[in-house]
């Protein structure tokens, strides 16, 4: 490296760490939100679809 070049590698590392943490945290947040929504779907009341067979517990 050129001797006149400043030694500021720590700033580069800090910049990349901050960016990676923000993007990864948001991606994980989206995945967790979708999982939570899917769990809500599992217990949600569901409308009848015309022509579909009745569910197994319909007789009960």
């Amino acid at each position: 490296m050129n001797p006149a070049t400043p030694d500021n590698g720590a700033f580069m590392v800090a910049g990349y760490v901050v960016a990676v943490v923000v993007y990864l945290a948001y991606a994980l947040l989206l995945v967790r939100r979708q999982r939570a929504l899917n769990r809500r779907w599992a217990t949600a009341p569901r409308p009848i679809r015309p022509g579909a067979p009745p569910p197994p517990d319909a007789a009960a």
């Binding site: 500021n8 700033f11 991606a27 929504l37 569901r46 319909a58």
Partner: protein, 234 residues
Amino acid sequence: MTAPSYATTRPSRTIDGLLLAGLIAVAAAVTRAIWFTPVEARQGLAQKIFYVHVPSAFIALYVAFALLAISSALYLWLRDPRLDRMAESAAEVGLVYMSVVLLTGPIWGKTVWGTWWTWDARLTLTLFLWFIVLGLLLLRQSIDERSMRARYSAVLGLLAAILVPFIHISVYLFRTLHPRPIVLKPSAPSLPGTMLTTLLLSLAAFLLLFIGLMRTRYRYATDRDELLAVEGSE
């Protein structure tokens, strides 16, 4: 006797393939930027923040917030809820990109300007835009009625996007520490070939990540709205 009920809609996958591809592409772009791109002689290693800062800013301003403005304007015209979901997703993902810009900028600025922050036009307008988009998302949380929420946030989304051209030309209109564009300018990019290649690859990687995040966020919004309709909340 009440009718039996059963599922009509299957919720989306939790992990999107494009999102994974975007994360892998960004990891590859970061690897190239850190280990396979020359060090800028005057600024040192900190200059490599450029390869995260600039693509994030470009995508936030010219892709995410452009999408926010277009979706908002079209929503006000067509009143299609899909456009509202698109605007909502673009605002949120754009805010994440803009947050990276506002966090990495000062880290780079400290080494080359000697200060973390300065209240010049480019930085201040960017911070204002960040607050407006944050306000848009908070506004959405506070309004229950769907059409009113969509209408108000569409107006705010359009107003936010008006700041984008001002942010772009602010470095020409005002005296500022922030450098002028070295790629998005009328003449040829003033960047050595290797650095320009790394920048373009980073831009492509962050764009792919943006598409993956947008698709995941939009699907979430669609599933949420369908669930709310099924539950009878809206």
